[in-house]
């Protein structure tokens, strides 16, 4: 009897515990859905339909919840960035809504990989993005994103002043050196001295001085960082640091994600900085065309040994598997370009 009573009691307490757990779970669900209800907010975005590279873009976002403005909400505007098959949203600006639920966001338009920019205004909550509104923007061509706004352009300060100063200084240096000729020619010939070498010396100084003028006169007077001109136009490059933290060269391969695509590696290892983002060749590095890629062993050997002043990539900088992926990437783009 006593035993029976015990089992009865046990059953009762088990039921109690079970219902408690159920109740708790129910409570959690209600609480959770309450939270979701609270965050079922809407973001209304007022953004221009198009933007120009290098200019700032203003966006007004209004956050409402069932028609009621939400104040003190953290809102960000992000753009979709893509490289080597990896894609994600990168923050451009963030702000906090005011009493009316309105926030002003602003960013400078970077050169976009295509004509359209895919943007998203996000409401940030404790558990990440709680609401988002996507919108597109047409990107118009403009000067490169880094345009020099500092510095003064004073017309009368130009390179002719530099040339003038150089001329003055070299005039004196040459005038002093010519005295060697005077000394040599004033000799009575009683000593054994070479009459040709003084001319050589004066000639050398003259050559060096005139060489300096050649250097100044032949150099481009446009800084490569300023507005694009025919010779120094810059190409838009990928923004590696935005998707992946910048790792730099020479790191331990174990620290690198082992799923980096050939395209990412091509940029990250620095290949693109000489050969161009599409491997079409540039001033320093040549085009990596089918001819170069035909013999993959030779190509790998070139990466390892660095011909014609190219940096040497040993197996710390690029593993064999990584080189294979780069070759794969290059071959795919080549065959796409020349079917």
């Amino acid at each position: 009897m006593k035993h029976h009573q015990n089992s009865e009691q046990r059953r009762t307490s088990r039921t109690l515990a079970q219902s408690m757990v159920l109740l708790l779970a129910l409570f959690a669900v209600v609480l959770g859905s309450a939270g979701r209800v609270a965050a079922a907010a809407e973001i209304e975005v007022d953004a221009p339909a198009e933007s120009t590279v290098g200019e700032s873009v203003q966006i007004t976002a209004t956050v409402t919840d069932g028609g009621v403005p939400v104040a003190d909400a953290v809102v960000t505007v992000t753009r979709q960035a893509e490289i080597g098959g990896q894609s994600g949203f990168v923050e451009l600006d963030s702000g906090v809504t005011d009493e009316a639920g309105v926030v002003q966001l602003e960013f400078v338009q970077n050169a976009a990989p295509s004509d359209a920019e895919h943007l998203q205004v996000e409401l940030q909550g404790d558990n990440g993005v709680e609401a988002a509104t996507k919108f597109d923007m047409t990107v118009l061509d403009g000067p490169q994103q880094v345009s020099a706004t500092s510095g003064a352009d004073v017309g009368i300060i130009n390179k002719y002043w530099l040339i003038g100063v150089l001329a003055l200084v070299w005039f004196f240096v040459i005038a002093a050196t010519v005295q060697l000729l005077v000394i040599s020619r004033s000799s009575d010939g009683s000593t054994h001295s070479n009459r040709v070498i003084p001319y050589f010396m004066v000639g050398f100084v003259l050559f060096t001085g005139l060489g300096m003028f050649y250097v100044v006169l032949t150099q481009p007077s446009m800084h490569a960082n300023l507005a694009p001109n025919d010779e120094f136009d810059r190409v838009p490059t990928a923004y590696v640091g935005e998707v992946y933290p910048y790792l730099g060269l020479g790191g331990d391969p174990a620290d690198r994600p082992d799923d980096l695509s050939g395209e990412v590696l091509f940029v990250q290892a620095g290949c693109a900085s000489c050969h161009g983002i599409d491997a079409n060749g540039a001033i320093v590095g040549g085009e990596l065309d089918d001819g170069v890629l035909d013999d993959t062993d030779e190509f790998t050997e070139a990466i390892r040994e660095g011909p014609d002043g190219m940096p040497v990539y040993d197996d710390v900088l690029l593993s064999q598997a990584e080189i294979d992926r780069i070759i794969e990437f290059l071959q795919s783009t080549r065959s796409a370009a020349n079917p």
Partner: protein
């Protein structure tokens, strides 16, 4: 202050003969110690060359320099040697302009150190290049908006004019060697004296031409030297690095250059004086004066450090505080405090007290100063580079064995240049010394 008063004239009839004999000795005499010294220097230089060949074949990857700290001990050595070359200008040109008579035994070496320091400095720029065969691109396709271009132009003018400035006042002495060493030296050496003395027979037109050239160069070389060292500082202060954001860097570099140059001069003089027994000509007077100059420059440097750190520390941005913490308290603190107390304060103290103001004391002070100035160049370069520009982990740098070997090779090359110079060329400006001696005798008569 007795040292500022001229010593009693100890002239006698054989003063000139003794001077001439003394100066001719190095050209003819070589001992075992000399050969060992040359051999040792050549060995260090050879190790440096081997290390450089290794670096050339494998790229700058064999150095400690990486993407975040991309300048290291080579650039420090470049600035150091360029700084040493300032000594020549200051000693020779400024003192010649003001007709300071005590300078005459000092000038020749000062001018030689200028040329040798500059050549060594230039080599370190090439060593720092990953692909030195592209140097010619600087001339053909350079961009003169780059401070490196200004540097190249300033150094070209400075090197050319200092070679001429070394050569022209040496012509009468080379003529003296040409006449005084016939048959005592190899033929090639005699030929060199004959050629480089440009048929000097000391006739009036030659004297006029010489005086003209010396006058032009003496005045020209002072502003040129100042531009060289300020433009050198532009390479840093126009680069976006927190510690280099300074408008007083030019002043800072010129002061440091004069300081280290004078210190090197004192050491070189002490060695040469002892080795070739020139006690009669390079007297304690020269050492004391150079010591005073060094102490003054040292105090100026202490002050320039204060201006640098007070102006930045007063505003104290986060980046500045990071740089200060590394410099004063953590990574570079031992180097900085050695520089400050060992390299700047100690020389002042040594010069300040009469008991320590001896030639030995001054050589000790100078040695500290020279080491400290190298250390200063090192932490200006590396500590400046180590402040992150973006939110990445601060990087570290340490010279590798290859870099140490090449830097040691550079020092060996500089000393080798200097040794060969003392061996082959008139180390004292005999002509100017005689001239001054005559003038002094006339005044006393």
């Amino acid at each position: 202050m007795e040292a500022l008063i001229d010593e009693p004239d100890t002239s006698d009839t054989t003063w000139e003969d003794r001077l001439e004999n003394k100066v001719l000795i190095p050209g003819t005499k070589t001992g075992l110690a000399f050969k060992l010294w040359i051999g040792g220097l050549l060995l260090v230089l050879l190790i440096g060359v081997v290390a450089y060949v290794n670096q050339y074949n494998n790229g700058l990857y064999v150095t400690g320099m990486r993407d975040r700290i991309s300048w290291g001990i080579y650039i420090a050595a470049f600035v150091f040697f360029a700084g040493i070359s300032m000594a020549g200008t200051l000693m020779s040109a400024i003192l010649r302009i003001t007709k300071a008579t005590w300078r005459t035994p000092v000038t020749r070496f000062a001018e030689a150190i200028t040329v040798m320091g500059l050549v060594t400095a230039g080599l370190f720029v090439i060593v720092d290049m990953g692909q030195p065969t592209r140097l010619y691109q600087m001339y053909l396709n350079g961009n003169w908006q780059s401070p490196l271009m200004w540097d190249m132009m300033a150094i070209t003018v400075y090197l050319t004019s200092s070679v001429v400035y070394l050569l022209i006042p040496m012509i009468p002495d080379l003529a003296f060697f040409r006449d005084g060493l016939p048959g005592r030296v190899p033929r090639a050496q005699s030929w060199m004296y004959g050629t480089l003395s440009f048929g000097w027979i000391e006739n009036p037109p030659q004297r006029r031409a010489l005086a003209k050239a010396v006058a032009i160069l003496t005045i020209l070389i002072i502003p040129v030297a100042v531009t060289v060292h300020t433009v050198l500082s532009f390479v840093f202060s126009t680069t976006v690095r927190v510690s280099w954001n300074s408008t007083s860097f030019g002043f800072f570099f010129v002061a440091g250059a004069i300081f280290s140059g004078v210190a090197v001069l004192i050491i070189v003089f002490a060695v040469v004086r002892r080795r070739y027994h020139l006690e009669e000509y390079i007297t304690e007077r020269q050492f004391t004066y150079l010591g005073y100059l060094m102490a003054a420059m040292s105090m100026i440097l202490i002050y320039t450090n204060a201006t640098e750190f007070i102006t930045k520390g007063f505003k104290a941005s986060d980046d500045d505080l990071f740089a200060f913490r590394e410099l004063f308290a953590t990574k570079f603190a031992p180097l900085f405090w050695f520089y400050f107390f060992g390299g700047l304060v100690l020389p002042v103290l040594i010069v300040a007290f009469k008991r320590t103001r001896t030639i030995t004391g001054l050589v000790v002070a100078s040695s500290f100063a020279v080491v400290a100035m190298f250390v200063e160049r090192y932490f200006i370069v590396v500590a400046g580079m180590s402040v992150p520009l973006m939110p990445y982990e601060p990087s570290t740098y340490a010279p590798t064995a290859t870099e140490w070997a090449i830097v040691a090779g550079g020092f060996a090359l500089f000393l080798l240049f200097l040794t060969v110079f003392t061996r082959l060329f008139p180390i004292l400006a005999v002509w100017e010394m005689k001239h001054e001696h005559h003038e002094r005798k006339e005044v006393t008569a």
